[in-house]
Amino acid sequence: MKKKIISLLLVAMFLVSLVGCAGAEEPAEEPAVEENVEEPAVEPIKVGVIFTGSIGDGAWNESGYNALVKAKEDLGIEFSFQESVPVAESGEVMRNFAYEGYDLIIAHDFNYNDIVSEVAPEFPDVLFTVSYGYQSTEDNIAAITSSGWHASYMAGVLAAAVSETEIVGVLSATDSFMGKRMRTGFVNGAKSVNPDIEVLEAFTGSWDDVVKGKELVNGMIQQGIDVILSNSGNVNFGVIETAKEAGIMAIGAPSDLSSVAPDTVIASAVTPSGIYVDYGIRQLAEDNFDGGVYVLGIKEGAEDLIWNPAFEAEFSAEVIDTVNAAKLQLSNGEIEEPVVE
């Protein structure tokens, strides 16, 4: 028994020493510093990012992450991030970033907006951006957003223009204000072309349950839809797959999904979230950061309908003209914002 206790103590000491080392050796552990020794003392911008889900979701988060990687290459920033941060706990992650000396904290989801409003006043020297945010309550908060419905409006126009059954569908993961805007945009766009068109809506209730997403779309297909707008994160792949099997058309969102199924995805209603990330970082890099709400639009590339090149050629000029006309009207602000109850 004695021996066992001693060996246990040894292992315990090993653990304790691990913890102990943590404090002591920290300075030596900063890897990035060495490379820049010769450079003039320009500290790289440190950016901390908070994601709601996985950076590999092939949609919203991935687009934001890619923008970070690009900013690192182009602007020499340093960044780190934390994934799957629930809104309820995001305040602590922001504070952590702030204490760890980050210059800019990007809360990459509009649901973080209120929390940012709470945390930002505690750190007046740190800048915050909220992707798709809706309010800026402090000078150090920039809510960078877009209309939220322009892209889906165009998708609706396209869907209605190509639908033969006069029934189209939209699949979302969960319900939210932005989701409602997106869906209402889609419905209004479709009705603007064909007032009699029917739009089916469904929710998977999670960003993960791809089997359920496929079943829902399959059900809609049986109900007669021939175009589906899928805006449900990674579940999109399953949805497009189902559309392909059934031989109906799909519109991807929020990224360009043409390559997933070139014969099925006719276009993508893109709202690349990387634009928001990029916008904030650039403002800071250009020493031009001001609080406030920035609404980016079609002109800035924050919203668009991207044709699948293979399909653009197949559609009649009339279809393409209709979509382009809608696009023009949207960027000119000639279409009224949809009413979301």
Binding site: K4, I5, L8, V11, A12, F14, L15, L18, V19, C21, A22, G23, E25, E26, E29, G48, S80, F81, Q82, E83, S84, V85, P86, V87, A88, G91, E92, V93, R95, N96, F97, Y99, E100, F110, N111, N113, D114, Y134, T174, D175, S176, F177, M178, G205
Partner: protein, 355 residues
């Protein structure tokens, strides 16, 4: 014939702590192997895990803030286990407890702070109990296995609250699906400058002590333990097992609800649709690791809180994907439950004595 031997109890306790500690160390070594798989130096990662959770004032604060609901979830599971009621529905009871505190915190106004807080907490306890009672009722009335009903009730609770928060409870001034904030009078004050640690920590400590005192020091606790250890013998000794199971259930549901309430009043302040706290399942793991003893559970709940907070630090510093936290918790649970076998064997030997 020796007298009452408290040194034996002490030796057993020491042995239990040592063996459990060894299991935790083994679990961390396995977790390190996973980290290495990602091409990251596990020593560096572990260092950040602990420094992130304990190395700074803010880190400690965050850890303690997480500890509050986690510890109550742990106590909740343990006390139900004492009477062999498998409460796997703590997640749902925490959610309902949050809802109770939220309703009173938002919609009851004009009360002085202490009274408002107590009223909110009462509501959270009641809601927690009521939600568990559904499973309790189904078990006692129909014999439905509570293990399954509580799991199902978790899913239902989360969906139910989301429905409420997206409809009747939705903050009319907010664009996102969330409730209003609780009134200022319902907020639990912060107790550690510059951190989120709130008065709930004191509540949790007091409740922890009360639970300890009740279970190990009072006649009621004696009955509870007797029913858990041998309900037939307890029944023949004049104890009513059904009554004790119900008491255990009520305490369990109340503790879980209180955990949700404290977290809401002290930290969250509102409910955002889609929130999944995950304290319920962590609490089960921590209860097992703490071997259902209040002091052991305080340590294990703290460790689980450290893993949670440190997990974030590991990702921010060296890019270890966050789900490692769950994998590590799983390994800890498995290692500790296996170590329980050795503890049992050893205890048996030690209590046997000479004849």
């Amino acid at each position: 014939m020796s007298s009452f031997d408290s040194s034996l109890s002490r030796r057993i306790l020491r042995m239990r702590i040592l063996v459990t500690g060894l299991a935790v160390v083994v679990a961390f070594l396995l977790g390190s192997a996973l980290v290495a798989l990602a091409g990251i130096n596990p020593l560096t990662a572990l260092r950040y895990l602990f420094s992130g959770a304990l190395g700074t004032r803010h880190g400690i604060g965050e850890t303690l803030t997480r500890f509050i609901p986690l510890f109550l979830a742990t106590l909740s599971f343990a006390i139900a286990m004492k009477v062999h009621f498998y409460n796997v529905g703590i997640e749902g009871q925490i959610a309902l407890g949050s809802l109770g505190a939220l309703l009173v915190g938002v919609y009851v106004t004009g009360l002085p702070a202490p009274i408002h807080i107590l009223l909110c907490l009462t509501a959270s306890v009641v809601f927690g109990i009521l939600w568990l009672s559904v499973a309790g009722f189904l078990r006692f009335r129909f014999g439905a296995n509570e293990l399954l009903t509580t799991v199902m009730l978790n899913y239902i609770a989360i969906y139910l609250i989301d429905i409420l928060v997206e409809t009747v409870l939705k903050d009319p001034n907010s664009l996102i699906n969330q409730s209003q904030k609780i009134a200022a009078t319902a907020k639990l004050p912060r107790i550690m400058e510059g951190t989120t640690v709130h008065l709930g920590l004191v509540f949790a400590a007091i409740v922890g002590f009360i639970v300890y005192y009740y279970v190990w020091r009072t006649p009621g606790g004696f009955e509870l333990r007797a029913v858990g250890a041998n309900s037939k013998a307890a029944k023949y000794a004049g104890i009513n097992p059904a009554k004790l199971i119900i008491i255990g259930m009520i305490i369990s549901g109340g503790l879980a609800g209180l955990g949700g309430g404290l977290n809401l009043l002290g930290y969250q302040s509102r409910w955002v649709s889609g929130t999944f706290l995950g304290y319920g399942f962590d609490g089960i793991g921590a209860a097992v690791m703490g071997q259902y003893h209040p002091l052991g559970m305080a340590f294990s709940a703290l460790l689980f809180a450290i893993i949670r907070v440190g997990g974030g630090a590991m990702q921010r510093s060296v890019g270890v994907p966050y789900p490692l936290v769950h994998a590590l918790q799983g390994i800890v649970i498995i290692a500790v439950i296996i170590s329980a076998y050795f503890i049992e064997k050893r205890t048996e030997k030690m209590t046997k004595g000479g004849q």
